[in-house]
Subunit: 457 residues, 2 copies
């Protein structure tokens, strides 16, 4: 008899449309604006993104068809299994059932290719030949490298110098998928050369790499820029995760009481949770939905809801979001994918609407949870994913105290096989907990001075 | 409409028994013998393996029940999907359909845990508390580390010094699963200390590591030794791969014309192919079955069928197998898992019976095939797996020339995310082809002099 340890979907059962939560928001989103407070128009974004993605970015249509060409690539690893973490439940002695959506089954090992493939497709359909992007730890860069190769586009990735040197394997992955990966700052852009002239030994930063990638996109022929999180269309492409999960839960006659995801820019959390929020907004169900962030980078739990830029150099429009200020420099925790100053406008908005909760967790609790996971469920999680696991364990323990048979659903956003050095530091006792000091937060928030303010809800 | 890109099985459909080909061999296997030619008795193996596994090693029972405790762990990643490599087919313009069994979905990333979990279970059931083993590149060591942790055993892995230094991530994986991993030669065994005294800077070898692991097993309380390939019971545990594949093909109304696997010790090849050979022996079907080895280590295509030892120090019994001689030192190709002097007795036997074919391929053809795979199917294969891919591509091209709609089935034994440095060497033009020179083969075969000879078929 089946114990529902894994729930698969056939290709026939795979969702054929993405879910756009913008159709169902109780209050409309404030628009992106320029520094003088004027709404950003699609034309302003045209040098950076193709118009079909800009249209998706502002669409309020509830369901958006997934093109066949995108589906055929997603089939390489999707539908991803919904799995029950029964051995973890047993170790915790909890009456709760913990289910996780395993996004680590993709070739680069995370949820990132869900949007990388879609973005490559839309750019190609718009006549674009080449994409540029930046990457920190390398998860996004490798996903876009694969997405471009499978769609027949060229790809150039500006990888933060310190990661480029410390994580040579990510670079080899990108090269295997035919992408060019250079250390940033590079000699290939004006922005990069200017910085190298002043500070030839700089370790680089995500802010610099974004500047280089955008300069590349707006100055190179047939090239556009691609971003791996934060934006509405990126979150849209990730909703296939939650849409599959809903079908999988329906197959076993369950519905989650709690939905959990880690949140850096917000895309994996949104991808898992927004389809469940659709039911919640419609009053059909009432799950608790929890976004988990590191205490070292607590934009949702301690950052205000403001208009802020996506990068230090303020090259992007101002987005309405929870932010620690674009000048914020996160502590060097191992969950590189969660070290970002702002939260996706859509995630910030549903938090403001009271539809979701945010929780901050410490690094040591996350690694402890990750090791318990590996020693019960086998798979070694990415440091980012361990944040979701830590809160799933908290919730399972609470269910035990309360004697409740809750169903906990979590997005298991990726595996940690390319991030094992963080585990080594943990085993060697080199990691510490870290909460952002209040004075540092206040200093960083000064970078928001003089910017327009979003309207009240 | 489904295009059968992926065929899943539910837990209910997962095989509940392993297939033992020893029940169906046209001629019986010659027994393992001592250097003076006497058959090895179970008692002789008792200090090294638990009696329940020794019984499995010599069993001729056709079907052997998979214990529930083993099934419950295998469910963490099994049943593995059977996938169609349609994008590769399109790139080749072949009328053939290429299906692959994706064993890269396990937590350590290969087929190895199929037997690691089973061996840990049987040792535990026999009252053993701790397992010792050796590992080269680290694939087997990390699988056994996970298997032991999930079954509640301790585990110690002797990892060849040069790999220990070059591949620190494998060691961290093992540590995450609670195993102790030391560089071999180590100061923890008499064998290790003796070698370090003479050659303190030695890079180590698999032969030394085996000696240390066996010494550990026979001298430590409650400890036994575990081997990741070659032996009959190891191949038995891997048959779940082919048994699942047969059910998956039946679901889509197909049966393979060609079955392909790479072969180092022989376990992944046997696991995929033996269930199909059962039909072939019974005269029900007649697939071609191809074992692929590197030209640098061509035991099946150029090594004689002999009695030989499994290790340099001749600590193991003599096994009837194709061998290059136990003194053989393979060239440093990147497919570390295929660098072994002998082939599993059961695989050697079915080759001798004419039930399978053997092919040797060159390293550059394999990396070229691996990169084409990654750029069409997404997943980056292990260097070992690329040998199976190379021959699948050869067969697909032959089908194109002949205009035949053949069904090609391949075991995709593991992913290459922990082996990316080989890809770097390939991209940098540092790899070359290499065929074992005849004079080196003849010199190595001298280590067989004076050993008993197996009887003719």
């Amino acid at each position: 008899m089946s114990e529902h340890i894994k729930v698969f979907l056939s290709e026939d059962e795979m969702p054929r449309q993405w879910y756009n939560i913008q159709a169902d928001l109780p209050h409309p989103m404030p628009p992106p604006v320029t520094p003088d407070g004027k709404p950003v128009t699609p034309d302003m974004l045209a040098p950076v993104f193709p118009m079909n993605l800009i249209e998706q970015e502002v669409s309020t249509q509830r369901w958006i068809d997934i093109p066949d060409e995108v589906l055929q690539v997603l089939w390489l690893w999707r539908p991803s299994p919904l799995c029950r973490a029964r051995r973890l439940e047993q170790a915790l002695g909890t009456p709760a059932r913990i289910y996780y959506k395993n996004e680590g089954v993709s070739a680069p090992g995370s949820h990132k290719p869900n949007t990388a493939v879609a973005q490559a497709y839309y750019n190609k359909a718009f006549g674009i030949k080449r994409l540029s992007t930046e990457t920190g730890a390398g998860q996004w860069g490798s996903a876009l490298a694969m997405g471009c190769k499978l769609m027949g586009l060229e790809c150039k990735v500006y990888m933060v110098r310190i990661s480029f040197d410390q994580k040579p394997f990510r670079k080899i992955m990108m090269q295997t998928w035919g992408a060019q990966c250079v250390a940033s700052p590079s000699r290939d852009t004006q922005a990069g050369r200017a910085i190298l002239e002043k500070t030839p030994d700089t370790p680089g930063s995500l802010a610099i790499a974004i500047s280089e990638a955008i300069e590349d996109a707006v100055t190179s022929k047939g090239t556009r820029y691609a971003l791996g999180s934060v934006l509405n269309h990126v979150l849209l492409h990730q909703t296939i995760i939650g849409l599959e999960a809903k079908k999988q839960f329906a197959k076993i006659g369950l519905y989650p009481d709690v939905v959990i995801g880690c949140a850096g820019g917000g895309s994996n959390f949104a991808g898992m949770s927004f389809p469940f929020l659709a039911d919640k907004i419609a009053g059909k169900t009432n799950p608790r939905v929890i976004a988990v962030e590191p205490a070292a980078c607590p934009k949702m739990t301690r950052g205000p809801f403001v208009y802020d830029s996506g990068d230090v150099a303020m090259m992007t429009p101002l987005l309405p979001m929870h932010s620690l200020g674009h000048a914020f420099v996160p502590a060097p925790i191992h969950a590189g994918g969660l070290r970002y100053h702002g939260m996706a406008p859509l995630v910030s908005h549903v938090l403001r609407e009271g539809l979701i909760e945010a929780k901050a967790v410490q690094q040591l609790e996350c690694y402890k949870a990750a090791v318990l996971w590996a020693q019960t469920e086998g798979f070694i999680p990415a440091p980012e994913t361990s944040h979701a696991i830590a809160v799933a364990i908290q919730e399972a323990q609470r269910a035990k105290e309360e004697g409740k048979e809750r169903v906990i659903a979590m997005n298991w956003s990726g595996h940690g096989l390319m991030d094992l050095s963080g585990y080594q530091s943990y085993f060697d006792g080199k990691l510490t907990d870290y909460s952002l000091p209040q004075n540092e937060l206040e200093a960083s928030l000064k970078s928001l001075e003089g910017l327009p303010k979003p309207p009240p809800l």
